[in-house]
């Protein structure tokens, strides 16, 4: 459904993405892994229209998205849940969700109201907090709200930027299991994560980025077994590998 070819993005003089190419089929969950500054967030930003590519093409079901504005891209079914959540902090939880459906609110108000109920089913922790000011929620609840808002656009492709960052391990695990549940509903997901182990557990496939390039890609099982991945991202030293059980 999504095809990215030869994507190059610059931040001023600095080249952040160098010829990124990959494609994703409907219903897949792909994890994008890599160190800080590898270009993961830039990649998601470029897909969502926040960064204008200098070269290359992004197509969704054959339709080109490169160089289009974010407000156009979300209408085509690509929704980004940005890093640091970026919720509307001084508005209520309910209004945040309501605005998530901005592009279809006028045409299908009832449907939007039904969808908000579904978001509360997906994140029961948000129930009872509809009228709370979003900025007063805990980090975990804000992340759930941000994902909920992203889903309110009814995306075909959901882009998640570091959903577990800064969260307590238990909350992070809850969010990851919600992502698994979401995947089962048929949403295609690209997940950028620093928490490699957690991401590999939920995703089907992984791309590893270094210095703006994809250096490795493959199924998650294959990645788990890859020595390079283990050393660099799963924190397992080579020496610890042999099963020397004392």
């Amino acid at each position: 459904m999504l095809k990215v070819s030869g994507l190059e993005v610059y931040h001023g003089w600095v080249q952040a993405l160098r010829g990124i190419s990959f494609s994703i089929t409907e219903g897949e969950m792909v994890a994008v892994l890599g160190a800080n500054g590898a270009g993961k967030s830039t990649l998601l930003g470029a897909l969502a229209g926040l960064h204008r590519p200098k070269n290359g093409d992004i197509t969704l079901n054959g339709q080109s998205l490169s160089g289009r504005a974010p407000e156009y891209i979300v209408r085509q079914g690509v929704s980004l849940v940005p890093e640091r959540r970026e919720i509307f902090s001084s508005m209520t939880v309910y209004d945040n969700l309501l605005l998530g459906a901005y592009h279809r609110y006028r045409s299908s108000k009832d449907e939007v109201i039904m969808d908000i109920k579904k978001i509360f089913d997906l994140f029961p922790a948000l129930v009872g907090r509809e009228a709370h000011t979003a900025g007063t929620l805990s980090g975990g609840l804000q992340q759930m709200l941000a994902i909920g808002r992203g889903l309110m656009a009814r995306p075909r492709l959901l882009l998640l930027d570091e959903p577990s960052i800064g969260l307590a391990p238990l909350v992070a695990r809850e969010i990851m299991s919600t992502l698994s549940a979401l995947k089962k509903t048929g949403v295609t997901i690209i997940l950028v994560e620093q928490n490699t182990a957690a991401a590999l557990k939920v995703a089907d496939r992984a791309l590893i980025m270094e210095r703006g390039q994809i250096v490795l890609s493959g199924g998650t099982d294959e990645m788990m077994g890859n020595e390079r991945v283990q050393q660099a991202y799963l924190g397992r030293a080579r020496m610890a590998q042999p099963a020397v059980v004392l």
């Binding site: 969502a48 229209g49 926040l50 504005a69 974010p70 407000e71 979300v74 209408r75 929704s79 980004l80 940005p82 970026e86 919720i87 509307f88 902090s89 001084s90 508005m91 209004d95 309501l98 605005l99 998530g100 459906a101 901005y102 592009h103 609110y105 000011t133 808002r149 309110m152 656009a153």
Partner: protein
Amino acid sequence: MVDLSSQLLQLLFSGLTLGSIYALIALALVTTFNITGVLNLAQGEFVALGALLAASLFAAGLPLPLVFILTVAGVAILGGLVERSAIYPARGASSMTLIIITIGLSISLRGLALLVWGTDPLLLPAFSSGGPILIGGAAINPQSLWIFGLTAVTLAMLFAFFELTYLGKAVRACEINRTAARLVGINPGAMSLLAFAGSGAIGAAAGIFIAPLTLATYDMGFMLGVKGFVAAVIGGMNNVGGAVLGGFILGVLEIYSAGLVSSGLKDAVALLVLLAVLLIRPEGLVGVIAGRKV
């Protein structure tokens, strides 16, 4: 001989009247600033154009309510045109560039007003007949009450728009976090157009209401724009309630210093207050206490 307390009360009424006007200008400035990131230094010109256009329409024999509607609509459309022609094409520019553009707009609009209306002041009659109303030994001009009323109604309408309507919420979302707003599909260009048209309407309404007190002249807008800006800075630039409070504080301070010390101090006070706020509390008086925008 008028005793001191009634004189103080008299000055307070004048100060609050003046403050209401500053408040209206400040709240238009703050709303636009938060939505678009543009500090519109041409806001005062919308007030002048409102006053001038209303005086002309009234002189042409139209009834006052119709004059009000036509003027507000006309200046709102002008605000929108100004945004599309001067602000929108430069939307990616730095805030300094945008400020300079609005200064250019201010000069151009003033020049246009001079060409159309000339230098003679125009008259608009007071909305209601009858003499001043006496309260506690002080006289209050009925037109002042109209101005208070306008400020109250404008605030109530803005509150209803931002809190109760879906479009208002989208505008607020754009104010709070423009990137996130774009990610949910809100077009900041449309919101910017709306903000400029809205500030045109608010400016015009303020102009129509003060014209009976001050007369309408082509150059009345500049100083009003500056005062509105000072009021907005007092309020913290990100808070509509703060802007209104800032307007009242500035109006009262100006009138008291003019009335009790020297009338030459009136304009100097605004700039002194601006300096003092920027040096001592650049985040504004209410910015932190209120915490919440709009």
